[in-house]
């Protein structure tokens, strides 16, 4: 853990240092790469700008809505397919088929069908996250060691007890991994939809700044989104490690 934190710090220092150095030495056109201090100042302004914060909140709401809808749907269908293998035989090829196709190509269809707005963004986020969570949930069911279930039955476990005492803890690590990846896919889907066509939202701002060559603003947005998504990912990973400590430990030992 300490080594990992040191790794992060070194990364940040090298990144900022390299950036500063490149800007000072004018190694890169200063219009394309303003120094970090300038970008930092823009970012600071953004954080006090209600309009910007409104866009950020909108994007966050879209991501949250997509995740909250996709997660239970995907976990439960993955569970169902894992428990009913004849269903899995029918639907798994379909899932892999859908996963193989880049979903971005369907964005124009989403826009035609649902217009440009909150609903379209959320739906695009849901379809991005759904399959990756489903696959992990399916794998989680299949990863339950059957002998553990047999042993529990001998000791008189009821069906409900088998689900709560064996299934749930055994599935937890893979489900959490699926949810974490699902969250990342949600963010990708929503931002993609915002950048492609949107009236508001952080993705739309980033696209506009790029179009308008407003580099400090663009970089400030990129830094902010990177930091936020990394923070979300790390928090979920921490929960994963906490709740599923045995798995990491068992793998290491």
């Amino acid at each position: 853990m300490r080594a990992a934190i040191a790794g992060y710090l070194i990364f940040v220092v090298v990144l900022l240092g390299g950036w500063e150095l490149a800007a000072r030495l004018s190694a890169v056109d200063p219009d394309l790469l303003p120094p970090p201090a300038e970008v930092g100042a823009v970012l600071w302004q953004f954080l006090h700008d209600p309009r910007f914060l409104g866009d950020l909140a909108l994007t966050a709401n879209e991501v949250a809505a997509a995740f909250v809808i996709a997660a239970p749907l995907a976990v439960s269908t993955g569970f169902l397919l894992g428990e009913r293998l004849h269903l899995a035989e029918t639907f798994n090829p379909l899932v892999h088929f859908i996963l193989a196709v880049p979903q971005s190509i369907f964005l124009p269809i989403f826009i035609l069908a649902f217009g440009i707005g909150f609903l379209e963004k959320v739906l695009f986020g849901i379809t991005h996250a759904y399959f990756v969570i489903l696959i992990n949930s399916f794998a989680a069911v299949r990863s339950i060691p059957r002998p553990l279930v047999t042993a529990a039955r001998v000791f008189g476990a009821t069906r409900a007890q088998i689900y709560t005492r064996i299934y749930l803890p055994a599935m937890l690590p893979l489900i959490l991994t699926g949810l974490r990846l699902g969250m990342i896919f949600c963010i990708i889907g929503v931002l993609l939809a915002e950048m492609y066509a949107s009236r508001r939202g952080i993705g739309q701002l980033i696209f506009d700044w790029g179009e308008g060559q407003q580099i400090p603003e663009l970089l400030a947005g990129i830094v902010l989104i990177s930091v936020l998504t990394i923070a979300v990912n790390e928090l979920m990973r921490l929960a994963e490690l906490r709740l599923a400590q045995f798995r990491a430990a068992a793998a290491a030992g």
């Binding site: 553990l148 001998v154 000791f155 008189g156 476990a157 007890q161 064996i166 803890p169 045995f246």
Partner: protein, 253 residues
């Protein structure tokens, strides 16, 4: 008085015109408090028989009774089981694993804790109560599984080749200690192994099973006085019994 009564048990796998017969008219009885072992070559149906006794599989014909009650499902509290694979829950400590069957049954906490501490003491793992399965050796894991099998205080313990995955020395030691545990608890043990030495050393009687379809071809009483020392394994009398069983099995082919 017999605790296990098996009469004309037949188990066939696969329906249709040519089902595979695993057990062929198996009948025997085991008296209360005895240590009886079933030996036979791999694939002779030993494990199937044990699964029927544990109530995990239904026989095709015939019946098994435990304490006079016909087996038609697991009998927690009456029958405990130790599997070839320890089947411990990886997310629970040794203590919590032993506690698991009592937890399923809904025993109150103080009673549970007292019993589990005593059981871990009995199997010689008192200091390892807080260790997770992956932190224990194979032999220690199997000791935890034995303590767990005893947790609900069943009169009968079924053991399905519990030491098969252990190295020779650990295996011998475990057998020796199992006899101590058996003597201390007064349980009936029905043990399965393909090791003739293990069977003879441990048991009051050895049931010899033929290759598939499994039939009981003979019952050999083992009269070595108890407590037994490992030295008897090298004795002429021990060798004679071993040879006799060996011939019984090979001639049954």
């Amino acid at each position: 008085m017999p605790i296990i009564e098996v009469s004309r048990l037949v188990k066939e796998f696969g329906a249709g015109r040519a089902p595979l017969r695993a057990l062929d008219e198996v009948s025997f009885a085991v008296d209360k408090g005895r240590f009886v072992t079933l030996v036979g070559p791999s694939g002779c149906g030993k494990s199937t028989l044990l699964q029927i006794l544990a109530g995990l599989t239904a026989p095709t014909r015939g019946e098994a009774r435990i304490e006079g009650e016909r087996v038609c499902g697991p009998m927690p509290g009456k029958v405990g089981m130790v599997f070839q694979d320890p089947t411990l829950l990886p997310w629970k400590t040794a203590f919590a694993n032993v506690e698991f069957p009592l937890d399923l049954r809904g025993d109150d906490r103080p009673a549970r804790r007292k019993r589990c501490a005593a059981l871990l003491e009995l199997v010689g793992l008192a200091e390892f109560a807080d260790h997770y399965p992956h932190e224990l050796s194979g032999g220690m894991r199997q000791r935890v599984a034995i303590a767990r099998g005893l947790a609900q205080d069943p009169k009968l313990i079924l053991m399905d080749e519990p030491f098969a995955a252990l190295d020779e020395q650990t295996r011998t030691r475990m057998g020796h200690d199992l006899l101590d545990i058996w003597a201390a608890t007064g349980k009936t043990v029905f043990f399965i192994t393909h090791s003739l030495s293990e069977a003879i050393y441990l048991s009051d009687a050895v049931l010899v099973m033929s290759p598939r379809p499994g039939r009981i071809i003979d019952t050999i009483a083992i009269d070595f006085p108890r407590p037994r020392e490992l030295d008897i394994i090298g004795s002429a009398a021990f060798g004679a019994i071993r040879n006799r069983i060996w011939h019984l099995i090979s001639e049954a082919r």
